[in-house]
């Protein structure tokens, strides 16, 4: 790029183009949403299958996939830091919110599951819904907001369900609120670069 002066029209065009391109580059991608959605789907799907097969003793084991997911997130975070990616205010807010919600979910799941009892799954889903709705509204991506609202409704509906069916709620919530919006976000992002 040369350091020349130019007309007001060219100037305004350059500003608009630069800001749009920079913002586009840092649009959140759906990879992390799809990852957590799939993990939740697998964990609760496996628990359901183990229960159906009457292997009740082993139903807790799939839950240990969550800390592994946490380690993967830590790896992503370190990788991003090393790449010297520019910091965006929105990215920082969403990243911090993700960590706070994630840590609370882990603590609730591993320490307070007994105290929460039947409310465990709905509360778990409400926290996820909160994160998804905030993400959707912040990055102005409607499928994510809609997915979050549906997830919130599933969560509230789960209060009326028997605990035995909460696994289904979790799987449906993961599909509607995380996997599908995440895939749509990836498609939208790819289209923006074509």
């Amino acid at each position: 790029m040369e350091n020349t002066t130019f007309t007001p029209e060219e100037s305004l065009l350059l500003i608009t183009k630069t800001i749009e391109e920079t913002k586009e580059r840092f649009k959140e991608n759906g990879h992390i949403l799809v990852f957590w959605g799939t993990l939740i789907f697998i964990v609760f799907g496996s628990q359901l299958i183990l229960s159906l097969l009457e292997f009740y003793k082993y139903t807790m084991y799939p839950v240990y996939l969550f800390p592994i997911g946490g380690i993967y997130m830590l790896y992503i975070w370190i990788k991003d830091k090393k790449q010297n990616k520019p910091k965006t205010i929105i990215g920082n807010i969403l990243g911090n919110l993700g960590w706070v919600v994630g840590m609370n979910l882990m603590i609730m799941g591993f320490i307070f599951s007994g105290k929460l009892g039947e409310a465990m799954a709905p509360v778990f889903l409400i926290l996820f819904a909160l994160f998804i709705i905030v993400c959707g509204l912040t990055i102005k991506f409607k499928p994510l907001t809609i997915g979050g609202v549906l997830l919130n409704l599933i969560a509230l509906g789960s209060f009326f369900l028997d605990r035995d069916y909460h696994g289904f709620s979790m799987m449906l919530g993961a599909l509607v609120g995380l996997i599908i919006p995440g895939l749509l976000l990836n498609i939208a992002r790819r289209k923006a670069y074509v």
């Binding site: 790029m1 350091n3 020349t4 002066t5 100037s11 350059l14 800001i19 010297n84």
Partner: protein, 95 residues
């Protein structure tokens, strides 16, 4: 009567740098270089001019044993940019 455009901002490379910094919280030198496709020497000179004008803040540090230069826009820079855009709009659509 048209107001004069800020000569610090009315140059292609300096305006690009400031536009990038308006959309991020903080960016490093290499990112600016990738985005603007300008040479390191040219970017350094323009950064110095913007820094001298008080429009950007430059933070030098080390990351993984390599020098790292982080840039961010200052309050004065934001005001100058907004003022520049408003004058530009006046040039394009005079009332």
């Amino acid at each position: 009567m048209f107001k004069n455009l800020d000569p610090i901002l009315h140059s292609q490379l300096r305006l690009s740098i400031v536009s990038i910094l308006m959309s991020v919280d903080e960016a490093n030198f290499n990112f600016i270089k990738d985005e603007t496709q300008a040479t390191s020497g040219n970017i350094s000179i323009q950064i110095k001019k913007l820094q001298d004008a008080g429009y950007i803040k430059v933070k030098k540090s080390f990351r993984n044993n390599y020098p790292n230069t982080s840039l961010s826009i200052t309050k004065k820079g934001i005001e100058a940019f907004e003022n520049y855009v408003s004058i530009l709009k006046n040039y394009i659509n005079p009332k």
